[in-house]
Each structure stands twice: as C-alpha cells, then as structure tokens.
Subunit: 299 residues, 2 copies
C-alpha cells in the first residue's frame, strides 16, 4: 500500500514536470523574455513539489529539471540564461534546512523575474529616445518590448507598419493590439516589406538572442527586413533586455524547426515543407542595440 | 419592336465585353504572359461580335475595347504590349471588306499568340543552359516559364525551393506541380527566404514587366529574394519573353493594390491592411536577363 502511494506520488510529479516542459515547447505565441520568466514561475512551483530528504538531493533534482526546461526551446537564450543565473545563485546559497532552502530559492527566482521586468521597462524607456514624434516605424513579429514602447509613445503621433508573421501571425497580433490602442497601424504580408520599407523612418525589432558578435537571432524573416532596411538606408534597431545576450556564436545556434502542418499543407513524396521559426541577422546590418544598459551604436 | 431588338443586342454586347474585362481583372492566378495571350483570344472573339457597317467603325470599336483590356491590369506590361502590337498591325492592313478584315485581324492575333508561345519555349531552352545538373534552384511565385524549364530538366536531378506566395499561394501551386512531376521541392514561408537562400546555387524568377533600365516588376517579395541572393552571393536570373519589355521607368509604374480581404483580416479604425501584388527589383541586383534573344549579362 505504501509502495503504491509512493508510486502515485512519483507518477504525479513526472506528469506535472512533463506538463510544464510541454507548455514551454508548445507556446509559440510568447516571446523569449516572457517564456523565460514563465520558466522561473514554473521552477518556483516545482521546488514545492520535489519530495526529497535533503538539500543536496533537492539541488540535484532541480538541476535535472532545469536542464530539461533549458533544452525545451534551444533557440531561446533568455530561457537558458535566466535559468542558468538562477542555478548559479542557488549554488552560492549557504547551507539551510530543506524548508529554508525552498524559501530562499523561491526568493532568488522572484528577484530574477523582477530584474527582468525592470530591464524590459528600462529598454522601453531607452527606445523612446529613438521613437521621435510622428516617426513611421516598421517592426517584425511580436516583441513585448516594442509593443510596450508603442503604447508609451502613442500620443506622439507615431505610426506602425508590421507584416503578418506567417505561419502563426504574431505580427497580426501586434497590429490588432496597437490599432486597438489608437495607433495608426498598417498590416502587410511579408512579401510587401520591400515596398513599405521605403515609407518608414526606422525599423525596431526585438530579439530572442544576441550572439557573441552582435548577430541577432529573431523570428524568421527578420534578416530580410534588415537587408531591405539597409538597401533603403533606413536605420535598423534591436531592442531587448541584456539577459538575451549569449556567448554563443553563429556556428553554435540550432534553429528550431516546427511542424510543417502549421503551413496548412501536407508533406508528400517529393514535397518537403520547412518551418524554421528563427533566422540570424548579421551584426553589420544593425544600426544599434538597445538594452537596459543604453544604446550601443554599431561602429 | 425593332428598337427593342437592337437594344437587346447592344446590351448583350456590353455584357460580354464587361464579362471579359472582369475575367482579366479578377484572374489572380495566371501570369502576365498567359493573361496577355488570353486577351488576344478575347479580342478574336470580340471581332465577331462587334456589329458595324464598315471597317473604320469596326477598327474604332476594337480600339476602344482594347484600351479597356489594357487598363484592366495596369501592372502587366505584356497585356499592354501584345495588344498594342496587334493594334499597330491592324492599322497596317490594306483596305478590306468587313468580312476580310475580320479574318485578317483574327490571323494577326493568332500569329502574335503563336509568336509568344514560341518565345516562351525559346526562353525555356535558354534557361536550360543555366540550370546545370543537380542545381539547387530557388524561385518565387508562379512563372509558367520557370515551371516549364523545371519539367524539362527534372531528369537532371535539380531540386527547387519556393516560398508559398501569400496571399494567393502561387508558390504553393508551383510546388504542388513540380513535386507531382517528381522534382524534389521544398516549400517555405516567405519569412524563411533568408535561411534557404544559403542552401541554393541560383535563383531564377519570371517577370511581369522589364522596365526601360532593366528593373523587374514581379510578384511582391521578388526584390527581397534578390536582396537575399545578393547578400548570400547567389546569382539571380530573370527569365521571360521579350514582350515583357517596356519603355516605362520606375516612376511610371502603378503597383496594383488588391482587396485587403485576401489577407483574411478586416480593416477597422486605425488598422489598414495593404495588399500590393507587385514590387520592383533594381537592375543592379540582377545577374542576367534571359529572353528568347538569349542571355544578357548585367555588366
């Protein structure tokens, strides 16, 4: 009977962990920062669910689970970075009882979450130095930082052009949100980027990761927009919190490939359907990187 | 009674002319060459429907109808060019009876149609000098010339990458056709062009119009593909019959704007939805223009 109860408990723990991993794997709508903060919330919940006898075993179990979370979305550095910072912080905690450890680990995670939110707020404010009154702005996909900045400067008469963001239409989500806020918004297909780039003053996009040499991993299509901006002599800004900086190089990046079915067409003999979510924009196409530490111009 | 009968006849003629104009306006699937040849077929039919007493009146009525046809798709030069050539030919015809004129005008139109088909065939063969065995080729939208060339060299082990072609999915139509023919085809979103350009040996696209200075009017998104090809050092070829050459400059071009509803989202206050079908690729991004007259390299 005791064995059965333990088995049920273990099976339940497995279920919730897998459920959380699946949530992160399948969340195609949230940006990398949002997902990273969500991972910290998940970690805070898991701490209370892990049943062990000591702090050491608890740390080991947390580490295993965190590795799985980090690997759930390999293209999204903030998840890796934020969880790694948390693990590093946990290692430096003094020896506690199990209960004290749980409380401290929670607090550490919550601090990181707040640091991230504060960073995003700072980036948003830094962005406002770029988004002059009446600016015509083009962006790509859905960046919560860009969305927040647009909200803040909507009284400035700025207007926005964004492409729909096939296959999951994150650009459409942004357009719905900014137009509902009273910002003049034009929604286009990705294919019209080359036409509309000539109608805007600047481009600003978010990022999933900033690589070691300044290259930007972001939603597939970003590098096309950067090329179009360069050809039209329009400045191209990348705005994100510094948690998104990574020591990875282009060679290290594994681009996530998602199900072909999202394109609404089945694969068959001789017909492959590709659905990569991210691409890499070379540093030389970027005018400046904007983080909570300020605006860094590309020299 | 006689007046009534005449009125009915006139109203019927109006209907068929308007029906034909509507057909050309609403045909979003056919390429410019196909549509131009279809316009000649329509003209051949209209010649037999126009009821006049003399050749001069007939010529006047034809000219009025042809102008309407030419204006039905202002971005598509082959329609303008082919019909203009036909009108010019008609003017040089000797004085005939009405019936003789009808027959000669028919013959002239049919000759032009055949000249166009022969030109496309020659372009296809010229393309084969570019599409080496095992070439990995990227294209854009649906060009009947490119489709025909792919069919001809499918035993060479060539493979094709094409993006879906929002909003009407002409690229998907091409991918369905080439894969059914046994050509290894990869279908992507427009947003993945920057990723897949690095995987191909060359790009070849059709054209709706080649402008005076070599710029190419083609399905919106073509200029993004050309920018990506240049950045990846991949040659970019344009293949089409010479009827597509125009004396227009970039300043003369009116880009067709189609209904927003094709994007599947409604306009509302503060939200505009744009749906331009064509963009212009600058000549400097083009490696060579391939017409029935041969391959002209860009110097």
């Amino acid at each position: 009977m005791a064995i059965t109860a333990k088995w049920i408990l273990k099976s339940k723990k497995m279920d919730i962990k897998q459920k959380y991993i699946d949530e992160i794997v399948n969340d195609r709508a949230s940006g990398a920062s949002e997902l990273a903060r969500r991972c910290l919330e998940i970690a805070m919940d898991i701490i209370w669910r892990i049943q062990t006898d000591g702090v050491r075993e608890m740390k080991d179990e947390i580490e295993i689970f965190v590795r799985d979370l980090q690997n759930a979305r390999p293209s999204m550095s903030p998840i890796k970075n934020m969880l790694q910072t948390w693990l590093d912080d946990l290692r430096t905690l003094p020896t506690f009882t199990l209960q004290e450890f749980r409380l401290e680990a929670m607090k550490t995670a919550e601090d990181l979450r707040e640091r991230s939110l504060l960073a995003v707020e700072k980036v948003t404010r830094a962005l406002l130095t770029i988004l002059k009154p009446n600016s015509r702005i083009m962006t790509y996909s859905y960046s919560s930082t860009v969305a927040a900045a647009m909200k803040l400067c909507k009284k400035n008469g700025v207007c926005l052009v964004v492409s729909e963001g096939r296959p999951l239409f994150e650009g459409r989500k942004l357009a719905e949100s900014t137009s509902a806020d009273g910002i003049e918004t034009t929604l286009i297909t990705e294919s019209q980027i080359g036409i509309f780039i000539k109608e805007v003053d600047l481009v600003v996009v978010g990022a999933d990761t900033i690589l070691q040499n300044g290259e930007v991993v972001n939603k597939a299509g970003t590098c096309l927009l950067a090329l179009a901006a360069r050809a039209a002599d329009v400045p191209f800004y990348v705005a994100c919190e510094s948690f998104k900086k990574s020591q990875q190089t282009v060679a290290d990046v594994e681009l996530e490939r998602m199900p072909a079915s999202e394109l609404g067409i089945d694969e068959k003999p001789y017909l492959q359907v590709a659905n990569y979510y991210f691409d890499i924009t070379p540093a030389e196409l970027i005018t400046a990187w904007i983080t909570e530490d300020g605006v860094r111009l590309n020299n």
